[in-house]
Symmetry: C2
Subunit: 429 residues, 2 copies
């Protein structure tokens, strides 16, 4: 981890830079996979799974027996933990207002807005280096609260041809009944276009590697929606001299262990805390199973010393981190100054892993600076709003001339005439 | 317009098909333009504008004098009409709840969510066959209500090197002070990456031709957000024997006049209404300035006769039209059955052009079936939600073991340790 003291404007600009991912090569590979699934359906999925995951499947869909087997094989303490986390996630997400509203804009002109569930949603859960069953909870619980009528899950099969048991247990506990042993770009294609066994969905959610991300970007133009573009996970910690170096180091490492491209940033008003955090990092790294990932990610990371917390928060607003930990004084006041971040953790006892698993907030958050323009997932991500309007005879008589004038000015005479023909008739009544 | 009586399942499936747009050729052209703007900045923009719009500009940004000149040149009746429309749009959009919420999930675990404005937004307003100043209102009013601190507008210059006066007037009336004479993919690139004169934005909004749409899709992967993928505009009318054929025809035409690829659909329980609408269409077409567009669009359109309104609404839910007009009995009851649509118009006096201009709802809506997974624009489209959490000493003690169990099961030991190190310390206090 580099330490930069009071960076000047040029250094700050350099520190704000994110890694750029070239889509180049992958773009073509993914496009081939998508077209293959589009034309070949289940047969192509089986073939691709054999080729890419090294597993020959007779059946893509998880059976009831497999769900039951998963249920039996998850230890009770993990089931209990998942139950507590689920309750918290449900409680927080369900507090979201989704009732819509109605306005009588003018006499005779009523407009209203309703939130409706997205009917069919697809959830992708990666396996890879760690089975991320917590992602199932973060996607399936808000989907269920939204009222989605069909929730489909895809996750790559392991060498034994089965999906991770805890992933299946978590899916079952959220009411998911349809799960498929499909990974990568081929899973995204299957959900986007549908096959004989995989239902086509209206929106695709979930993290994944570069292939999954590229596939989501490619199918997005074809009528299916996606949650957000994904990038490597990130944490930024703002620390003053009240921060506890052992905590800060643990938080930085819990981001760094995700993968070698994880982004980790420490911004501090205290050189002493930075120094102690660095030595804590070394200590904690040595006993970490995923220390190789963490070490590589830390090698690209920076600790920045700033003169005030306000200066730090200003820098972090420009950076727009996915996770922001405020390990300092006056956290409430500083939280009010946050303008760009995915999720914010206040105080020394609010570690990122609390939000990752069980505090109740969603852990699917915008990364790579996308927090400037994107929200993390919520119940609303699984819904769409539809507007309605009713003009009465009186309404069209008062508003009609306004519409006629504007339509004529845009040169859209049929738009104007749709009003004129009604005004003629409205006048008669 | 084809008439299809009581379509069978195969015919229905065919009727639900939307045109597919091949990105192929355009993809490469747009990518070249984007890279050109990225590397050459303002100089490239001036060059591209000379090449593609046939205008040589000395200055890309609209001056105060040009804003004032536009203000002077718009007729008063149009200004008054824009004022009424603006008031309605503001009134409806401002009713959106954006206060966020707070939940104490467990003792010592508080989570909350805040809506924050997206700081810098870019608005693209096409010129082309008609100057669409109404789009300025539909984008800039919610942006202002959201509290966006910088709103930038790009619109292609005409042959005389100026932006359409009403577009500029509308922009000024919404408080926009920064407008640029840039069109097409180059405008999207300028706003996505910034140049010497054009500020980089966090999210890009607005309709446009295939180049604009493709450019928005391409820059989306680079950290900037976009409103939604755009397709050709659409209307579907559900009519029973209480519908007035002259109104229905006018509504179909006000969609068809947008362009030759506009999608128009009539679904009716009454063969008589369909027949009379077809002959009204011919009558109204003859006097329409943009009849060539309309005629070509109608040639690809269908009128479908169904046996019940329920059957009609079911078909339309699968089709997911951008605009849906309910010109029939029991509109309130049928509106409750709508599951997929951009915006819905109830009753004979609620023409689509009311929503296009002045009723108060937003006219930037999902097309091409995207209404299944996307919302039309609202104030929330110009904001992002950020979540916050605070765990106290007590909070981490009650929730900590749950997090430890889950993190360990995902094989993320640093995530677990971030809790364990706090539990050790929390126990001491």
């Amino acid at each position: 981890m580099r330490v930069i003291n009071y960076p000047n404007a040029d250094q700050r600009a350099a520190l704000l830079k994110r890694p750029v991912f070239e889509r180049g090569q992958i773009q073509g590979d993914v496009s081939v996979i998508i077209n293959c699934v589009k034309s070949g359906g289940d047969r192509s999925l089986v073939e691709l799974t054999r080729e890419l995951d090294g597993v020959k499947l007779d059946r893509l869909e998880v059976t009831n027996e497999e769900f039951e087997f998963a249920n039996d094989s998850v230890p009770q303490d993990l089931k209990d933990a998942i139950a507590v986390a689920s309750r918290n996630i449900e409680k927080f997400h369900d507090a979201e207002d989704r009732t819509g509203y109605r306005v009588e804009v003018m006499p005779g002109v009523s407009c209203w807005k309703k939130w409706l569930p997205i009917e069919r949603v697809g959830i992708y859960v990666p396996a890879g280096s760690a089975p991320l069953f917590s992602t199932v909870l973060m996607l399936a619980i808000p989907a269920r609260l939204a009222g989605c009528s069909e929730i489909v899950l895809c996750s790559p099969p392991g060498r034994d041809g089965s999906i991770d048991a805890t992933t299946l247990f978590a899916a079952g506990s959220c009411g998911i009944t349809r799960a498929f042993k499909i990974g990568g770009a081929q899973a995204v294609a299957a959900m986007a276009f549908g096959t004989e066994s995989v239902p086509r969905v209206d929106k695709i959610f979930g993290p994944g590697n570069q292939f999954v991300t590229e596939a989501k970007m490619q199918v997005m133009g074809t009528g299916v929606a996606i949650d957000m573009p994904a990038g490597p996970s990130e944490v930024a910690v703002l620390a003053d001299d009240t921060a506890i170096p052992a905590f800060v180091a643990a938080d930085l490492l819990s981001q760094a262990e995700h993968g070698p491209d994880s982004q980790v940033l420490l911004v501090s008003t205290s050189g002493d805390v930075v120094e102690k955090t660095l030595s804590e990092l070394e200590k904690q790294l040595n006993v970490l199973p995923r220390r190789e990932f963490a070490r590589r990610s830390l090698a690209n990371s920076s600790a920045i010393i700033v003169s005030t917390l306000e200066d730090g928060i200003e820098f972090l607003n420009e950076y727009a981190p996915e996770h922001l930990i405020l390990a300092c004084r006056r956290t409430d006041e500083l939280a009010e100054k946050v303008r760009n971040a995915g999720s914010v953790f206040l105080g020394n006892f609010s570690c990122e892993s609390a939000g990752d698993y069980a505090a109740g907030t969603n852990h699917t958050l915008p990364t790579n600076g996308a927090a400037r323009g994107y929200s993390g997932l919520s119940v609303l991500s699984f819904m769409k709003s539809v507007t309605f309007q009713r003009l009465t005879n009186k309404g069209i008589r008062s508003l009609g001339p306004v519409i006629e004038t504007m339509a004529a000015a845009e040169g859209l005479e049929a738009h104007k005439y749709a009003v004129s023909v009604r005004l003629q008739s409205a006048g008669e009544n």
